[in-house]
Symmetry: C2
Subunit: 203 residues, 2 copies
């Protein structure tokens, strides 16, 4: 993690989103890239100061009227740093799914417990699918002419694909539990093969 990803995310958002305040940057993070990235205020504000000190961004002078909003603009050096980072191959994700973990230990806490988590996961995925559909709408409406359209759609498509897959998985998993309750391990193996055919693309 000698990566400083937070700083580069801020640079990237300032590069595609124009001059923004810390608060607005946070909104970008949650709304535009929240499906695959997260940052908290506690990181954004100190990092903005660090970036300003390093001359990668500069604070714009306030307009003196009404509420003080401190906006920042990316500098030429900032752009260079961003480009250097963007051309570096992305680090592999370090996955950490508590849902899968607790499912894996299902034999300790019992099937009914796991069943509950799977139901919740299914509902959560439905919600996210709706959220991403809304994001798609707004991108298609607002970025129709922008050169960022392809990239926005590609990331949105990723969300669509992964959430749909996870939803289908949660359903199938409940079926495996049913099979286990009804017919033991032999039934589980049969149900597994069937589920795999259905939900794994190209299997």
């Amino acid at each position: 993690m000698r990566e400083r990803s937070t700083g580069h995310v801020i640079l990237g958002i300032l590069a595609v989103g124009g001059d923004l305040s810390g608060y607005e940057i946070r909104q970008w993070v949650t709304q535009a890239i929240g499906f695959f990235w997260s940052e908290s205020f506690g990181q954004i504000y100190p990092e903005l100061q660090r970036l300003a000190k390093a001359k990668l961004i500069k604070a714009l002078p306030g307009e003196g009227k009404g509420r003080e909003v401190k906006r920042y603009r990316i500098s030429a050096q900032g752009r260079t740093a961003l480009e250097r980072w963007l051309t570096q191959p992305p680090q592999a994700e370090r996955p950490r799914s508590e849902l899968l973990l607790k499912t894996f230990f299902g034999s300790v806490a019992g099937a009914s417990n796991v069943r509950g988590f799977l139901k919740e996961a299914e509902q959560a995925m439905d919600l996210r699918c709706k959220g991403i559909a809304a994001a798609e709408d707004s991108v298609v409406r607002e970025d129709r002419g922008a050169d960022t359209l392809v990239y926005s759609l590609i990331t949105i498509l990723s969300g669509q694909a992964v959430y749909a897959a996870r939803r289908a998985w949660a359903e199938a998993a409940a079926e495996l539990l049913d099979a286990h309750a009804a017919g033991g391990n032999e039934a589980v193996l049969r149900a597994y093969t069937k589920a795999k055919k259905r939900i794994v693309a190209g299997a």
Copy 2:
């Protein structure tokens, strides 16, 4: 993160895997749950000492012969703590995909750059699909009679589903970039609709 997940993972592995050393626990982590979880030695060893001090596990006496391997066994209190944690609803994942992030900022670094990342991602997903197929084989062979079989298969199925979805996405994303190069945003929108129909289950 007032969660202590590392400690609970260790308890879980000792509960389903029997008496194990720190090194063996780490092997479990990478081999059995590596698809959705990771822990490093730097966390496991100190955590083992903490758990032992809290009486949730106890160190087994060495057998005095040859190499010293310090194995641990989960205690009754440890089992209680584990069960309490397992029945708590799992925390939502905080996603952090550098690939998606760098893709999102594609307009800054250029399409050829993104194309490269997508190709690499496709190959990485192929590798992981192979890895998970191997894991499936060994589970079906070795856990055929165990009461952990359903849960292992459910988590493996998740890997299958998600990796296949990601692989399909990477291919489709490259097609969107082709469409953009060939016919601009209008072509992208057409390609997006087509790709979505193909790769999103139930869309």
